[in-house]
């Protein structure tokens, strides 16, 4: 808004222009600062933004397909899929060529997104409470939350693990009842690579992804 005004006043004398220009610069800086703090400076805020956006999409009266498209965008801005892929492959990551890494990241990202999006139709008005944030190591945080079941029953403990990468906190793992999803996939991937080789893993991932995507299309 200030930006527009400064453009309008641009030709009225240097004093006004400089004053407004200065004001604009300050307000933009503050806005960026606030946005940055809210979006990436604080791990709790990153997780909270993700969950709030996801809940508002899930609670809206969009079609399932529209919800999935919106959520794909929401997920992509909060997750670091490269870090997730690296972590899910463990020590096998180092044995891959850059092209293989890139291809794995692409396929695994698709698989994870399809997994999460296939849960959309299961949404039954659950609410989320954030409980605490702890530092796991320098540059690593864990944001804990509880998913409350509207029909009663024990809440599910859902924790987000974030890494500070390139000036932003990004989610690289999610734990359900303290079971790390990425560590679970790492064990599966280790076994498949060791027993049947990397190409089989890629084929299995693609097949599963297609299966999940088809299920998405039907719902």
């Amino acid at each position: 808004m200030n930006g527009n005004r400064s453009v309008l006043f641009v030709d009225r004398g240097s004093f006004v222009r400089r004053a407004l220009g200065g004001l604009t610069a300050v307000s933009i800086a503050i806005a960026i600062g606030i946005a940055a703090r809210a979006d990436s400076g604080d791990p709790t805020a990153v997780a909270r933004t993700l969950v709030n956006q996801a809940l508002s999409v899930l609670g809206s009266n969009m079609t399932t397909h529209e919800k999935q498209e919106r959520l794909r965008g929401v997920v992509e801005q909060s997750f670091d899929f490269t870090e997730m892929s690296r972590s899910a492959l463990g020590y096998h990551w180092r044995d891959l060529t850059p092209a293989q890494r890139q291809e794995f990241t692409r396929v695994f990202t698709q698989f994870i997104e399809d997994s999460y999006l296939s849960k959309v139709s299961d949404y039954r008005g659950q609410t989320v409470t954030f409980t605490k944030t702890i530092q796991l190591a320098p540059g690593y945080s864990q944001v804990s939350s509880k998913v409350n079941q509207p029909q009663g029953g024990e809440p599910i403990a859902l924790d987000y693990r974030l890494k500070y990468i390139g000036g932003q906190w990004k989610i690289y793992d999610v734990t359900v009842d303290s079971i790390s999803i990425i560590a679970n996939y790492r064990n599966q991937f280790n076994r498949v690579i060791n027993n049947k080789g990397f190409p089989t893993l890629m084929a299995d991932l693609r097949a599963k992804s297609t299966q999940l995507a088809n299920a998405l299309g039907e719902s």
Binding site: R94, Y140, D177, A183, N184, R186, N187, V192
Partner: protein
Amino acid sequence: MPLQAIIVGCVRQSGGGAEKLKVEGRFKMKLQRESCSVRDGLSLGGFMAVIMMAAMICVSPAMAGESGAAASPPPTSGPPPGPNNGQPYPDPLEPFNSTMLNFNLKVDQYVVSPIARGYAAVVPRPARESVGNFFSNVGVIPRFANNLFQLRLTRAGTEVARFGINTTLGVAGLFDVADTWFGLKENRDDFGLTLGHYGVPTGPYVVLPFLGPSTIRDTVGLVADGAMNPLDWLTPWYVYIPANVGQFALAGINYRSLHLNLFEEVDRYAIDLYGAVQDGYMQRRANQQRKVDEGTVFGP
């Protein structure tokens, strides 16, 4: 939760024996006898434990060496490395485990799941939750004993108090009023965790028929906890064996009826089902062990 092993959950819930209820009136009087008998009961479990432990301790360093040599150092991507430091679990029993996992899945598919679905269709959820509470309540003795073994006297006391409250005010254990009215939480505990608390390693992963995923150490724990059922010492084998099997089956079907999509959910997202179940069990037990060692209360 998806990754939790169905049947192991039931066994742990029901370790104490449904028949404990019958001797409920004499519980206080019997308590002293029980603490002696627990030792007697343990002598069998303990004996087996010692033998299996010895075997395991001889075997596991060799295995650790093997897997250590085969695997490269942990990933460079930083903490937290996750369970087993990002390495594959040593799994010398893999061929047997694989067969057993398939066997258990078939048992579930053709027997347990259909019965659980039918049962869930006729019995409403609150009633089934109450049945779960009942089995949890009669499993008090192993929880009490293991809290005692770990020298957590307050918690052992809490378990006794919970049993008293839930058996009386909670109508024979159908309602967990000790938690809802008095804030006394169940202290999940078992002999596998007690062994772990005193430094016994888990040993290799093993999938037991009907019982599901376990480790050598936790199998020893199952035997020891099972030996704490007073019914087993008071009645002949042709009474207590069918009684235990019956109770196990009922608890298992009840648990399954409360988690109808258990395997379907895991299978839907698994690339390698064996690996998913194995890691789910190992992570869950590692988390429970951490809580036991820290002294944090954790539920079923």
